[in-house]
Subunit: 294 residues, 2 copies
C-alpha cells in the first residue's frame, strides 16, 4: 500500500498540465481511498498516517495553495475522528475528504458564475494557459456570444487544450503565441485568468506570462480579472509559495557553454494590477477597479 | 537571368531568421551583381530594370524599413548614371550599391558603439529575438563583464541563435521562454532591442513580444533602449509598415473548428515607452528617459 502512495505522489510531482485546484481535488479523492485501505489496527495510527501523507502531498507541489488549503481543511476534520472505532473512522475520514472535494467544486462553479455575470454577453476575453475555473466561465457564457483570445503557453501548450474545449463549445477563438498576447489584448474587452494561489495582499501566483498580460491590460485600458475559489488564498503569514522551476530540457534549447536555460512555470503578479478578484463570495474590487489606463 | 532574380526574391520572401538590415544589405549586394550581369544593350533599359527590381524587392518585405531606405538610396544614386556608357554604368551602379552596404555596416557599428558606451561595463541586458545590432553591442561589451537575458522568440527561436553567439563570446547568458521575459526583466539593468523600422513619431516596429517587454521595463523601473542604424527610419508620411502575418502552421497548433491561429512576427511599441533611441548619430533621449517607474 505504501507503493500506491509513492506512485500517486510521483504522478503529482510530474504533472505539468493540470491546474492547482484539480490536482488538490484529486489528492483528496486519493486520500479518501487511503482512508478506507491503509492497513492498520489502531485508529490513532490511521490518523497519524493520513495526516503525514497529506503533509507530504502538500509539500510535493509547493507553488499550489489549494493543496495546502484543501488537504489542511481535511486534516482539521480528521482531528475529531480519532475517537471513533476503526471501521467508522475509515468511513468518516473518506466522507470528509469527499465533502471537501464537493465544496471545492461548488466554490469553482459559484466563482465562475459571478465572473460570467460580471463579464456579460458578447464579450471578448484574453487569457493564457488552462484554468478549469476560466474554462467554466467560458462554458457559462457559451450561448452568450463570448469570444476568446488564448496564448499557447509554452513549453507544454496548455493553451491548445483550452482552445480544444472552446472549439467544442463553438466559442470563436484566436490562438496566438505567448509573445503576441500583449498585441492581441487590445482586441479584448477584458483579461480573465485563474490563479494557482492568491497571496494575502492580493498578489496572484499564476502561470508565467500573467504579469506581462496584466501590464498589457493596464496599458490598453481593459480590466484584469482573477477568478478562483477562495481555497487559493494563502495565509497572511505566508511569504508566498516557492515558485517551481521545471526541467530546462522542456524548452528544446541547444546546450551551449555559459548559457543557463531557465524554465519557471509560475510568477507573481502584484495586486496593484488587479481590477477585481472574483471568488465564490462574489466580486471584490481591486486597486485597478474602474481604471481605464495606467 | 530573370530566374536569378525570381529565385533571390523568393528566398527573401521566405527568410524568417535574418534581421531587416542584414536582408537589406543582401539585397544591395545582389543588385550590385545584377548591375553587372543583366543582359541589355541600352543604358536606359538597364537603369529601368534595376529600378523596377529594387522596387519589387522593397515590396517583398513591407515590414522592413531598411529595404525601402537602402534600396531607395541606391535608386537615387542610379538617377545620374543613365548618361554613362553601358560598361561604365554597370561598374558605377554596382559600386554605388556596394558603397550603400558599407555605409549601412558603418552605421550599425557606430550605433552599437554608442550603445556600448551608454550601457557601460558589468551590465545585464535583457533582449529578445536576434538583432545584428544588439549582437554587435554585446560583442563590444564582451570583455566588459556584460551578461545577457534572452527570450527564445517563438515560433522560430532566433533567441537560440543569439544565445549561441553570446556563448561563443563567453558572455554569461540566461535563456528563457517569451512568457518568462517579464519576470526576468527584474534581474536586468536595462532592456536593449533592435528595430525592424522606426516610425516618424519614434514608435518601434520590432519582433512580437517587444511591447510587453517594454511594459515590463517601465514597470520594473529599468530603461528600454532601442538601438539601430537610422536607415530604419520611416518617412513622416508613412502610416507604418504592413505588419506581416506568417504561416500559422509554424505554431504547430492543432487544427480545431472555430479556432483561428494567428502568427504575427512584428508589433509596434509606442514611443512613450522608449527611454532612448541609439543610432549612429548618438543617443537621443525618449519620453521615458530618466524615468524610474510608471
Amino acid at each position: 500500500m505504501a507503493d500506491a502512495f509513492a506512485e500517486f505522489r510521483a504522478r503529482l510531482a510530474a504533472d505539468r498540465l493540470q491546474g492547482a485546484s484539480e490536482l488538490a481535488r484529486q489528492c483528496l479523492e486519493f486520500m479518501a481511498e487511503r482512508s478506507r485501505q491503509v492497513p492498520v489496527v489502531e485508529p490513532e495510527t490511521l490518523v497519524d498516517i493520513l495526516r503525514r501523507e497529506a503533509d507530504l502531498l502538500s509539500a510535493t507541489r509547493p507553488s499550489m495553495a489549494p493543496l495546502l488549503n484543501l488537504l489542511g481543511r481535511w486534516k482539521d476534520d480528521l482531528e475529531g475522528l480519532a475517537v471513533l472505532p476503526l471501521v467508522e473512522l475509515r468511513a468518516a475520514a473518506a466522507g470528509a475528504a469527499e465533502s471537501v472535494v464537493a465544496e471545492s467544486r461548488l466554490a469553482v462553479d459559484r466563482a465562475a458564475g459571478h465572473a460570467a455575470a460580471r463579464l456579460g454577453a458578447g464579450c471578448t476575453l484574453a487569457t493564457l494557459s488552462l484554468s478549469s475555473t476560466v474554462a467554466a466561465v467560458f462554458e457559462k457564457l457559451r450561448e452568450a456570444g463570448v469570444r476568446a483570445i488564448v496564448a499557447e503557453s509554452r513549453p507544454l501548450n496548455e493553451g491548445h487544450r483550452l482552445a480544444a474545449a472552446l472549439s467544442a463549445w463553438h466559442i470563436p477563438t484566436t490562438l496566438v503565441t505567448d509573445a503576441a498576447l500583449g498585441r492581441y489584448a487590445a482586441g479584448a474587452d477584458a483579461v480573465l485568468v485563474g490563479a494557482d494561489a492568491l497571496m494575502a495582499d492580493g498578489a496572484v501566483v499564476n502561470k508565467i506570462g500573467t504579469y506581462p498580460l496584466a501590464l498589457a491590460a493596464r496599458d490598453t485600458g481593459i480590466p484584469f480579472y482573477v477568478c478562483c475559489e477562495s481555497f487559493k488564498r494563502l495565509p497572511p503569514s505566508s511569504e508566498g509559495p516557492e515558485l517551481e522551476e521545471m526541467d530546462p530540457a522542456e524548452l528544446g534549447a541547444p546546450e551551449l557553454p555559459g548559457v543557463r536555460v531557465m524554465n519557471p512555470y509560475f510568477e507573481v503578479t502584484p495586486a496593484r494590477l488587479v481590477s477585481a478578484w472574483i471568488t465564490e463570495a462574489g466580486v471584490e474590487r481591486g486597486p485597478r477597479a474602474g481604471a481605464t489606463g495606467s
